[in-house]
């Protein structure tokens, strides 16, 4: 029989560990969000601009970028983490720990968000680019002053969806000692048969995801003046 008081007692008992685990999750997800913005946004923009009929139309680049994004996304995430160990070691000097775990997570983040960016930009009416060209905008100006302005709510929604995926991905990072809330739930809740504790952690994650989705939707709505 499930007992809420056992759950709460367990969570209070392990409060310090839970705090630490949440901190690790925030670190890993935070790193991947930053990677998504710094690299995923330009990658997605390029993915869009290289499409047929766009300003950098280029079949070869389009093929290379698409393949790269698809390959990364088709890896079962756990396998990608293991497969990337040599690369991770090259970048941060070790393959173990929270920082090391952030590397494969960031790689997936870039690929995932790039796709979302491409989709958001596809929603911008073609006429906007035509107006930009008629005004003598440079390519960079077209991207920053026209495309991103019109796609901004979609870009935020895409980042929200991606961030929630990153949280989900981050739960398997125990495999390389990345820690985090998912790792905590498995080690304490599952492996020690403390089902109540695991449930408590799951509830925490549900609250976290809800909060992120709510924030993302609200910001996106505030930015959207199109209707």
């Amino acid at each position: 029989m499930f007992d809420i008081s056992v759950m709460l007692d367990g969570m209070i008992q392990y409060e310090a560990e839970i705090r630490k685990a949440i901190g690790e999750t925030f670190f890993m997800v935070g790193m991947s969000v930053v990677a998504a913005i710094i690299f995923g946004l330009p990658a997605g923009t390029l993915l869009f601009l290289c499409r047929k009929g766009q300003i950098y139309e280029n079949r070869a680049w389009s093929w290379v970028l698409n393949s790269l994004v698809n390959i990364i996304r088709s890896f079962p995430f756990l396998l990608l983490v293991v497969f990337m160990i040599p690369l991770t070691r090259m970048i941060v000097g070790t393959a173990i720990g929270t920082l090391a775990a952030s590397i494969p997570l960031s790689v997936v983040a870039i690929a995932l968000y790039a796709r979302q960016v491409e989709q958001a930009l596809l929603d911008v009416p073609r006429g906007v680019i035509e107006a930009a060209r008629a005004m003598g905008a440079s390519k960079l100006e077209m991207i920053v002053k026209f495309l991103y302005v019109e796609a901004r709510s979609g870009l935020v929604l895409g980042l929200t969806t991606s961030t929630i995926s990153f949280i989900s991905y981050s739960t398997v990072m125990g495999i390389v000692g990345g820690g985090g809330i998912g790792d905590f739930a498995i080690r304490y809740g599952y492996q020690r048969f403390e089902t109540e504790l695991m449930t408590g952690v799951i509830i925490l994650m549900i609250v976290l995801v809800q909060a992120i989705q709510y924030a993302g939707t609200t910001i996106s709505r505030l930015l959207d003046k199109r209707s």
Binding site: A131, G136, K145
Partner: protein
């Protein structure tokens, strides 16, 4: 002011043959005129208009604007040159996520004008089209006619010598069409801006154009001068639908 010399443009199609959208067109637009280009859908009118500011790069021929050969320019020279030619569209093509004044400000930002002068110029342009009171609103809250006025204000921001209009009234109702046409006539008369207008609406051409070119199947088939007739709708009180329709039927008095 603006001339096309033996300009051609064709497109790749799915099937093996190429679509010749514009074939060896030679056309001169006189300075200070309102020049209409009329013809059926698919005649190549819009392509012809886009050749005038080189949004479409011609396969052959030369595009000369204000004495400069645009076809010989580099990409960055071309960008500079395009600022002296304004353009408005059937679908307005405003930035939905910027306010009315933000939209008019865009071309000035691209031209690198300092903030203070920008604000001043935006005011002037909005005043000119009579939308100063809507400056802080977003396009979504405007009517079609108001959106087109914003687009005109935006096109005028950089003091263009030529204004290219691609079906500017085709998605507007008859009364709003008259409003926009009087704004365009005002632009032509008070600012001396040369206007080239593509449309399939016969009465729009009859109302404001001083010269007309007819385009069919990618070629110019006719070109002649026209005495624009002042329509009552543009000056006096607007006629009701009832009056307009009955007049069309030739029933005269209502």
């Amino acid at each position: 002011m603006l001339s096309l010399q033996e300009v051609s443009k064709s497109y790749d199609r799915q099937s093996s043959d190429r679509l010749a959208a514009v074939q060896a067109v030679t056309l001169t637009i006189e300075e200070g005129t309102i020049h209409g280009i009329i013809g059926p859908s698919g005649a190549g009118k819009s392509t012809l208009l886009r050749l005038m500011n080189m949004l479409e790069i011609p396969d052959e021929g030369r595009v000369v604007v204000a004495g400069k050969d645009w076809t010989a320019m580099s990409e960055s020279e071309l960008r500079q040159a395009r600022r002296s030619v304004g353009m408005i569209f059937q679908q307005f093509n405003l930035l939905q996520n910027r306010t009315v004044s933000g939209n008019v400000s865009v071309p000035l930002e691209l031209a690198g004008l300092p903030k203070k002068e920008r604000a001043e110029r935006v005011r002037e342009c909005l005043q000119f089209v009579g939308l100063l009171d809507k400056a802080e609103e977003y396009p979504a809250s405007l009517s079609g006619g108001q959106k087109q006025r914003v687009a005109i204000a935006r096109a005028l921001a950089n003091h263009p010598q030529v204004l290219l209009c691609d079906e500017p009234t085709s998605s507007l109702d008859p009364k709003t069409t008259n409003d926009i046409l009087s704004v365009l006539r005002h632009v032509n008369e008070t600012l001396g801006v040369t206007i080239v207008m593509v449309t399939h609406e016969m009465d729009v051409v009859a109302q404001i154009c001083q010269r007309v070119s007819v385009m069919e199947g990618g070629r110019l088939t006719d070109s002649f001068a026209l005495q624009p007739r002042e329509q009552a709708g543009a000056i006096g009180p607007p006629k009701s639908y009832r009056e307009q329709l009955l007049v069309m039927e030739g029933l005269g008095d209502v």
